[in-house]
Amino acid sequence: MSSPLENLETQLEMFIENVRQIRIIVSDFQPQGQSVLNQKIQSLVTGLQEVDKLKSQVHDIHVPTEVFDYIDQGRNPQLYTKDCIDKALAKNEEVKGKIDSYKRFKSHLLSELSKTFPNEIAKYKAIRGGE
């Protein structure tokens, strides 16, 4: 069984195909095409009903509104995903760098303090459990 998103995608593609066919019919309309056009218009309504039925299956899927900006500009929305991944990776590396720097700073500070205040640092380490 296909996923709710695949179902929705298929329904939307069918709907778009239907609209495309209506466009072809009306672009050079022939009198005998009226009944076909009427059928197509009814199938538009049916298509909308099908899409409406599927909304309950996809209500838990959240789409960031920034994606719409990409689509509205005629850009590939996967570029948004790529940008997000790049940003997340850069931030991850930045935070890791900070954490590593603080760790190095802490050990350096302790070693320097223990040279100047050996008794106090020994007490401190005893309290902190040998940190």
């Binding site: 199938s43 309504v45 719409f68 007490k123």
Partner: protein
């Protein structure tokens, strides 16, 4: 004005605390001058002896997941990362939606078809979708003939589309030039799938034909498999 008020109040202000410099609540037990207690205020004020250091607090609890972890690997997103960073993504929207007809890559603002406008101005909803009655359908009765010139720009399709292949093919069969692909019943998903598959098969067949053209010309004429009909010309089951 303000300075005058302060001047008036000043004579009544005590010059020193009646209890001296000592805090009224907490008495100092440590005469050495080293404060070794932590004082908590609030609902339950408390005084905790915290050892020989000033302002020493409990260290924050160890967190399993921090920014020091490779979060991409932790959440199993390495595949997505390599997918999007391994190859160069095509910029255009049409490369993401190759099956959609029409021109997609232009900015939506040009024809007011942006998704943003759907959010900004929500369409009327909440009404039941019902098929049109015959009286309502009468509103869609059209005059025969082609569309006026100013509405035809919508019909333009990008040249690289697969649809154009169909167009050429259909011209041979004598279908009117306005029709790019045969009008199939799109309400049936099976038919819709078949349309895509057939197109692929048709391309394969063309190549195969080219290769065997000279050798099997005579056979092709009589063989039912390689006969005059291309796969797309076979009637639908």
């Amino acid at each position: 004005m303000m300075s005058d008020q302060f001047r008036k109040v000043e004579p009544y202000s005590p010059k020193s605390s009646p209890r001296g410099a000592r805090s009224p609540v907490v008495s100092r037990q440590d005469s050495s001058g080293t404060l070794k207690t932590t004082i908590s205020l609030g609902k339950n004020p408390s005084i905790v002896h915290s050892g020989p250091f000033y302002l020493m607090k409990e260290p924050p609890g160890e967190c399993e997941l921090t920014g020091a972890t490779n979060l991409m690997a932790y959440y199993g997103l390495e595949h997505s990362y390599s997918k999007f960073n391994g190859k160069k993504l095509k910029e255009s929207l049409s490369s993401f939606l190759p099956n959609l007809p029409g021109i997609l890559d232009g900015p939506g603002q040009e024809d007011n078809s942006t998704l943003g406008s759907v959010i900004a101005k929500r369409p009327i909803g909440g009404k039941e979708l019902l098929p049109l009655t015959s009286a309502q359908l009468a509103g869609f009765r059209l005059h025969p003939g082609p569309l006026p010139e100013q509405y035809r720009y919508v019909s333009a399709t990008p040249p690289k589309r697969h649809k154009t292949k169909h167009k050429k093919h259909k011209h041979k069969d004598g279908v009117p030039s306005g029709q790019e692909t045969p009008l199939q019943d799109s309400s049936n998903p099976d038919t819709y799938e078949k349309k895509h598959k057939k197109q692929k098969r048709h391309d394969d067949d063309k190549e195969r034909k080219k290769r065997k053209k000279e050798k099997k010309r005579k056979k092709q004429k009589h063989s039912p498999e390689h006969g005059g009909l291309t796969p797309s010309q076979h009637p639908l089951p």
